[in-house]
């Protein structure tokens, strides 16, 4: 098991961000028929934001299913969210929802699959984060 767990839809943007990070990571499965994954050590969760404000559904249902497992909730230490500033107040709101639900900080937000700067900040940020958590 790894310290970074993420979800990415079939558009693959979040997956692409994780590839650019170049760290070992586990992907939450896309389909309910796939076996669920279980965290075995503290981890940071990386998720896209769905929707676009107001109407709910911002946290992908696959991520909800993953966090409905109490074991996984106990081991989450932080959340990173992808989004789009075009969504105004709902920018990366999946991160804020999970943050308040699980009482862990939102560590970072980025757009689409992240700029090179986003990749480098998150890469270095996660390294130092795990030295103190």
């Amino acid at each position: 098991m790894t310290k970074l767990i993420y979800f990415s839809s079939i558009s693959g943007n979040t997956h692409r961000f994780v590839q650019k990070l170049g760290v070992e990571a586990t992907r939450i499965p896309l389909y309910a028929r796939d076996p669920a994954i279980t965290a075995e050590e503290p981890f940071v969760l990386l998720t896209p934001t769905y929707g676009g404000g107001g109407e709910g559904g911002a946290v992908p249902k696959q991520v909800i299913r993953f966090l409905n497992d109490a074991n996984n909730r106990n081991l989450i230490r932080g959340v990173i969210a992808a989004g789009n500033t075009n969504f105004g107040e709902a920018y990366g709101i999946a991160g804020d929802i999970i943050s308040s639900k699980c009482k862990v900080p939102t560590l970072y937000k980025f757009e689409v699959f992240g700029t090179p700067d986003d990749v480098s900040v998150v890469h270095d940020g996660l390294e130092s984060f795990w030295q103190t958590h």
């Binding site: 929707g51 109407e55 409905n68 500033t85 009482k103």
Partner: protein, 339 residues
């Protein structure tokens, strides 16, 4: 009585200038057999985001409008007619021209939704105009939109690609329109909003901005699905084409920005906003962003008007990181997550 209105003659409408091909065959659409779940996801998102200009209390901006100088009012009118033109193109030609190339019937349906919303956007600028300005001022702004060479060139470049016979190139042009070309215009209402002016108008524009994000994301996604099936050589051709088109549009966009914003001294900050959004347009198409962060640092007031959350610190890593406590996670039932 015959009214001759050169500006608004239907013959000048984008749809009349060239033939849009129709889908050759149609089967009854079955929403219970889905080939690409993105079609359903995006359809639902667009339907949930549906709005009409009548729901925004634009008349509350009348007082604020009267605090603008005549030059500022004229600038605002011109920016909005420029946006009206783009929305008209996208509603009557752009989104419609993507339908014959759709891979799934549900994709076709999503494009009809996009086309209709673009027409709502185009109409909503007229709601703003009729609320804030007089008929001669409105006519004057529309006349300007026909006569400004850089605005016309922008429309012409995109229209040429919509008429072309390459489906992937049409999607590139469409995504660049949705995710890049609007933003020289969107800047101004965000600027007014950051100075507490025309705030209801800004609320309406934010609804348009939200829609364009979904449109750009979806068309860019379908572009990438189409590109996957192509040879390496063809992929390179499309990539070269995309960057060439972006450069061509960018050069013109800089001229257009100068035409509009030099008089109020905002050109340089608008250009940063263009760079920032050009990067997002490229990413929607699956390409790496090309403008470095030194030229995408849009003024925080604009970013905050765009996305009120954006002025909060979204970078925990660069902060002190000591001001939070990790709480114990609460038991969560399925319905707790029914956001």
């Amino acid at each position: 009585m015959t009214i001759t209105d050169k500006v608004n003659a239907a013959a000048n409408d984008p749809a009349h200038q060239g033939r849009i091909p129709l889908v050759s065959q149609v089967n009854a659409i079955n929403w219970n057999r889905i080939q690409d779940e993105k079609d359903v996801e995006v359809w639902n998102r667009l339907v949930n985001n549906f709005w009409l200009p009548e729901k925004v209390p634009l008349s509350n901006d009348v007082q604020s409008w009267n605090t603008l100088t005549p030059e500022e009012q004229q600038l605002t009118m011109r920016v909005f007619t420029g946006l009206t033109l783009l929305d008209t193109i996208q509603g009557t030609v752009g989104a419609v021209s993507l339908i014959p190339d759709a891979i799934t019937p549900h994709e076709e349906a999503v494009y009809t939704n996009i086309a209709f919303m673009e027409s709502v956007h185009a109409k909503s600028y007229s709601s703003i105009f009729s609320t804030l300005a007089s008929t001669p001022e409105i006519d004057d702004a529309f006349r300007w939109s026909v006569e400004n060479p850089n605005l016309q060139k922008k429309a012409e470049i995109v229209m040429n690609y919509y008429r072309g016979d390459d489906p992937l190139k049409r999607k590139v042009a469409s995504t660049l329109l949705e995710s890049f070309l609007f933003y020289s215009g969107f800047y101004l209402p965000m600027y007014w909003s950051s100075r507490a002016k025309l705030t209801n108008t800004a609320d309406l524009i934010r609804l348009i901005i939200r829609d364009e994000a979904v449109h750009g994301y979806y068309i860019g996604y379908k572009f990438q699905k189409g590109l996957e099936k192509e040879t390496e050589e063809r992929r390179q051709e499309i990539k070269d084409y995309t960057f060439n088109l972006l450069f061509e549009l960018y050069d013109n966009e800089v001229q257009y920005t100068q035409d509009l914003y030099d008089q109020v001294g905002l050109t340089e900050d608008v250009k940063k906003f263009l760079h920032y959004n050009a990067n997002k347009a490229l990413m929607n198409l699956g390409y790496e962003p090309m403008f470095p962060k030194t030229v995408t640092d849009v003024s925080p007031a604009i970013l905050s008007a765009l996305s009120p959350n954006a002025d909060e610190n979204h970078d925990f890593f660069s902060g002190s990181g000591s001001s939070y406590v990790i709480g114990k996670a609460v038991n969560t039932e399925d319905e707790d997550w029914d956001f």
